[in-house]
Amino acid sequence: MVRLLQIEFIKLWNNRASRILIASYFILLTSIALVAAIKFDIGPVQFHLADQGIFNFPYIWHFNSYITAIFKLFLAIVIVSMMANEYSNKTIKQNLIDGLSKKEFILSKFLTVTAFSLVSTLFVFLVSLILGLIYSDYDEFSIIFSDLEFLLAFFFKLMGFFSFCLFLGILIKRSAFALGFLILWAILEQVFFGLLGWKVMSWEAAQRVKNFFPLEATANLIKEPFSRLSAVQNIGEQIGESMNFDYHVYWYEFLIVILWTLIFVYLSHALLKKRDL
C-alpha cells in the first residue's frame, strides 16, 4: 500500500502544475480563517463576522466543512488530469508493462484520493479547532467535540466526489473533456430532477430520488448551514417565517455515498480490464 502511494506521489509531486494546484488547495483550506477578519465599521453600523456566531462550537464544524468543500474543485482538476494524463502520455501502458497490475494501478489512484480526503479532513479539523478556540462563545469540552459527524461527512463527501472524478478520467481519457463532462453531469442531475418532478411524480418524491444521484448524494451529506445562524433565524422570525430546516447527517446518506464510491472504483477497474491499450 505504501509502495502504491509512493508511486503516485512521485508522479504528482514532480508535475509542477499539480504541485501548484495541490498547494493552493491547502492554502485555500487554511484561508477560511481569513473570514474571521471580515469587519465592517461604517459609523454606527459595526459588523464583525466572527462575532455573528459562525465560529461557535459546534456550529463551526458544520459551517467550515460546508464552505471548504467548495474548494474540492481544485483537487478535482488534479485528480481528473492525473488519470487522463496517464492515457495521453501512454504511461499507463508503460506502467502495466513494467509490472504494475491493473488492480494495483486503480488502487494506487484510489489510495491517493483517499489520502487527499483524509488530509483535507484533518486540515479542516485543525483550522476549525483553532478558530473555534479563539472565537467561540462556548468552550466546554463536550460542546467542542459534539457534531463531529460533519467532519466524517466531509471525508466521505470528498472521497465520493474524487472517485467520480477518477472514473470520469478513465472513461473519457482527456482531462478537459472529463471536467466538461463533470459539469454537464451536474446540470443533467438537475434537469432529470426537474423532469421527474414536473412529469412523473410529486416534487417530494422527485427530491427523494434526486438524493440518490451521485453528485447530489455527495452534496446532500452536508446541508447548507446558513439558516442555522442566529442572525438569519432572527430575520426569519421578524418576517414571520419559521425555519425548521433539517441539517442532520443521516446514516443512509453515508451509505449512498459509500456505495457510489465503490461503484466508481469497481467500474474504473472493469473499464481498464476490458480495454486494449
Partner: protein
C-alpha cells in the same frame, strides 16, 4: 536452459479482423528471437498480449513455466513497445526511479544503465527535451533496470536516423552478448538477420515459420553468373537437372540450385562446354529473399 515463454493457440480478434490467429511458439532461454512480419501482421498485438496490455480472445501463454502471475512475471521482463512512454515533465532519473518502484527493485542500478545507453550526462534533463533516439535509449535503460531474464523489443529502431539505429543495434548486441534472452519484433529484415538466431515469421496473424534462421528454407543457395554468350549459358544450364529456376536481370543470370554444387565444379563444367564466365558468385538467400519467398508461397 529452460523455457521462458510458451504461447499456445493465441488468438485476438478486433471485431471481424483477426489480428492474431492460433499462434503458438516457444522461447528458450539464451537465444535471440526475431518476430518478423510486414506491417499489420500482428507482431505488436502478440507482444501486447504477452505484456498484459491487450486482452486475448482465446488461447493461452505462460511465462517462466507459469509459476507466477502475469504481472509478477513482468517484473522479470524488460520491454519496450513502439514509442517510449515516460512522464514528459520528469527527468530521466526521476522516471527511472518510478520504474524501480513499480518493479520493486533498488535504485542502485540507474546510473549503471544510463551509462550503458550513453545518457549519463543528460540524466537530469526532462524527458520532453530528449530527441527520439535518446528517448528510445532511455526506454532501453528502463527495460534493463531489473536485469531482466528476457528483453522484449518492439520496433526499437523505428523512426530513428542512421546514427540512432546504429547506436540501438550496438546496445542490443552488447546485451545479447551478456546472455540475455531477447525477443525482437521488426519488419526490418537486416536488423533481425544481424542479431537473431531464431525467427518467428507472421503474416496476417498466422505463423508461417518458427525456428533457427538458417533452417528457414531448405535451400542450397544460388549462383550469379555472367558470360559473353549469355544465351549459350542459359541454354546449357536449362538442360542440367541440378538447376531449378533461372532468372536473368541486369545482364546477370541467377541460377537456383536443387542440390549441393561447389562453385569450382560449375566453373569446370562450363569451361569444358566452352563457356567462359566473367562473373561467378555463389550465394545463400538473404533473410529478405527467404522471407519474401515464404510470404509469397502463402498467397
Amino acid at each position: 536452459m529452460g523455457t521462458i515463454l510458451n504461447v499456445d493457440g493465441l488468438t485476438k480478434k478486433f471485431g471481424h479482423l483477426v489480428a492474431v490467429n492460433q499462434l503458438s511458439f516457444t522461447i528458450e532461454k539464451g537465444n535471440v528471437y526475431g518476430i518478423l512480419g510486414p506491417n499489420g501482421s500482428g507482431k505488436s498485438t502478440t507482444l501486447g498480449i504477452i505484456l498484459n496490455v491487450v486482452n486475448r480472445t482465446s488461447g493461452s501463454f505462460q511465462c517462466f513455466n507459469g509459476t507466477t502471475s502475469t504481472h509478477e512475471a513482468l517484473k522479470k521482463v524488460g520491454a519496450i513497445i513502439e514509442r517510449p512512454n515516460f512522464y514528459p515533465y520528469m527527468t530521466a532519473v526521476q522516471n527511472l526511479k518510478l520504474v524501480c518502484k513499480i518493479k520493486e527493485v533498488s535504485v542502485d542500478k540507474i546510473a549503471e544503465k544510463l551509462e550503458l545507453v550513453g545518457l549519463l550526462d543528460r540524466q537530469h534533463s526532462k524527458f520532453r527535451t530528449y530527441s527520439l533516439g535518446m528517448k528510445q535509449r532511455l526506454a532501453i535503460a528502463s527495460a534493463l533496470l531489473n536485469d531482466p531474464e528476457i528483453l522484449i523489443l518492439d520496433e526499437p529502431t523505428n523512426g530513428l536516423d542512421p546514427q540512432g539505429i546504429h547506436q540501438i543495434r550496438q546496445i542490443i548486441k552488447k546485451i545479447a552478448g551478456q546472455g540475455t534472452t531477447i525477443l525482437l519484433a521488426s519488419h526490418l529484415l537486416d536488423e533481425v538477420e544481424k542479431v537473431c538466431s531464431h525467427v518467428v515469421i507472421l503474416r496476417k496473424g498466422k505463423k508461417l515459420y518458427s525456428g533457427p534462421v538458417d533452417e528457414m528454407l531448405a535451400s542450397h543457395g544460388f549462383f550469379e553468373l555472367k558470360s559473353n554468350d549469355m544465351e549459350q549459358l542459359h541454354a546449357f544450364l536449362e538442360k542440367q537437372a541440378i538447376f531449378g529456376k533461372l532468372t536473368q536481370e541486369n545482364g546477370l543470370l541467377t541460377a537456383y540450385l536443387k542440390e549441393e554444387l561447389a562453385a569450382e565444379e560449375l566453373n569446370q563444367m562450363l569451361f569444358k562446354e566452352g563457356i567462359v564466365l566473367s562473373h561467378l558468385m555463389k550465394r545463400k538467400e538473404s533473410l529478405e529473399e527467404q522471407f519474401l519467398t515464404l510470404t509469397q508461397n502463402e498467397n
